[in-house]
Symmetry: C2
Subunit: 302 residues, 2 copies
């Protein structure tokens, strides 16, 4: 028998929250999706588009109506609103299950531990690995999470019921749910996402500063286009992620830099064998990664 709940509240109705709302309504995981946020126009638009069933500007109303509350705001806002929500739910006898979709988990765990005497058993932190170049509720798609991973980062204090409910919710949206520790999540995401963004920003900034930047960009080709695409990402979002995931990001930068300096030495010494070995190992890993992606794409279309 599939899990069903009455009401899900989405806190912050953009691409991430809107897509989840749509998916949960489409597959009947809940009877009703309520939207909550500061920006009434987005909520109204979500209602018009049928992404949500109703909305409120009153946080307490959203919390008391919901079986599950999903915080879908940007990273640093999520920490603030989580503290606010915990202050309102800590005293409740039957608090809703609370989860989120933010890119960093460590700052939210720390925020919850500072805000509450004990880590709330009903708070299950999570992160869907999905997105789009587009943003806002208009871009919401019910299949955004299909065959994408959602990483849940339960802690010892979590109730198994709350964990199961959040897991079922994402599975209902079509996602593959995996679990890891908060520290592991933040290290993996630093390596595969936060570090690449920092590298792309650093490279483009270095080139843009040059006197010949115009000539440089005019002579760039397809490889450069793909490599730097993520430097077109939202500066506010990535500034916030870099701050929220500071420790893991610094470790990833340093680990990367060690490898870069190794390669630099190989260039200095014209160590053809060493370079060939490194490039070949990297190519093999990248080709295997491409095969994983191709498999996932095929699963999505079949």
């Amino acid at each position: 028998m599939k899990t069903r709940v009455e009401t899900v509240a989405i806190i912050g109705l953009g691409l991430i929250g809107g897509s989840l709302a749509k998916a949960l309504k489409d597959n009947g995981f809940c009877r009703e999706v309520i939207g909550y946020g500061h920006r009434e126009p987005s909520l109204r638009r979500g209602l018009e588009l049928g992404v949500i069933d109703s909305f409120t500007l009153d946080l307490d109303a959203a919390l008391s109506a919901a079986d599950i509350v999903v915080i879908c705001t940007p990273t640093l806002v999520a920490a603030e609103i989580l503290v606010d929500i915990l202050a309102r739910t800590e005293a409740l006898e039957q608090p809703p299950v609370i989860t989120d979709g933010a890119s960093v988990k460590g700052n939210l765990e720390r925020a919850a531990r500072s805000a509450c005497k004990e880590f709330p058993p009903y708070l299950v932190l999570g992160h869907p690995i999905a997105g789009s170049e587009r943003s806002g509720v208009e871009a919401a798609r019910s299949d955004l999470y299909v065959n994408h991973r959602v990483i849940l980062t339960p802690v010892a204090e979590n109730s198994s019921e709350a964990l199961a409910l959040v897991s079922d919710m994402w599975a209902a949206a079509g996602a593959t749910v995996v679990q890891m520790t908060v520290a592991r999540h933040d290290a993996v995401l630093a390596a595969t996402s936060h570090l690449p963004h920092v590298l792309a920003y650093a490279l483009v900034d270095a080139l843009a500063e040059s006197d010949e930047s115009d000539e440089i960009f005019r002579c760039a080709a397809g490889g450069f286009r793909d490599f730097t695409r993520i430097a077109s990402s939202d500066p506010v979002m990535w500034r916030d992620i870099a701050i929220a995931n500071k420790a893991a990001l610094l470790q990833a930068i340093d680990q990367f830099n060690e490898h870069l300096q190794q390669l630099r030495r190989a260039v200095v010494e014209e160590d053809a064998a060493g370079m060939h070995e490194t490039f070949t190992r990297a190519k093999q890993a990248r080709d295997e990664f491409a095969a994983i992606l191709a498999e996932r794409e095929q699963a999505k279309t079949s």
Copy 2:
């Protein structure tokens, strides 16, 4: 009146040489294209596909028949074969015009200067900024160079006739021909192409080494896929380019590293304003670059 020549010899018949041969035959720039190389099967295949009109395994025969000789081999092979060709043409009264399509120009200029008493006026070094994921003569396309840049790097000793002829040849293939010094070319290419490849290889190698590499790659998303695509490039080709363009590549690595360390400090200090400024400047430069590319794409399809 459009420039026409009798015969062009292509030295090394892969994607780059084959596509040039096809383009020159299609638009009637020359009456005949001769292929020369070490691998007879590739040459025979090129003949079957109509990419070339004839082939020879005798370098002297190719040189004596040609008005223009285009070296289209990989980077380090190009330096060797250039020295060989110069030894055979230096004594000729009417040597053919010689040019090339290799990714680095400084090593070829040095090779020519060591091989000859004077830099040969009829040697015009060049580099088409075009390529494809595919390789080999089977992948040759007559439109590979259309609306792509070709950088020619003339030196003081070059004859203006030789320079004009090479320029006309690439224009006939649909390319936009620009000129810069050898040093500038190698610096620009180090920044936009050779450095990004080194960074992508270094990142993927750093992640592949980790105990959790499987988990890391399974959790990676679209941004990581694009960022690391060039780490799937041919290790031999990039090892050779890194060695051939050593000085400019080291300078690019160091300039990049300065910017990365600046960003690292901003993360350490949680300098939100500084990060926001850098990310915003980089995003703006990347968005402008995307606009250049979009314009070029449009010119290609219209």
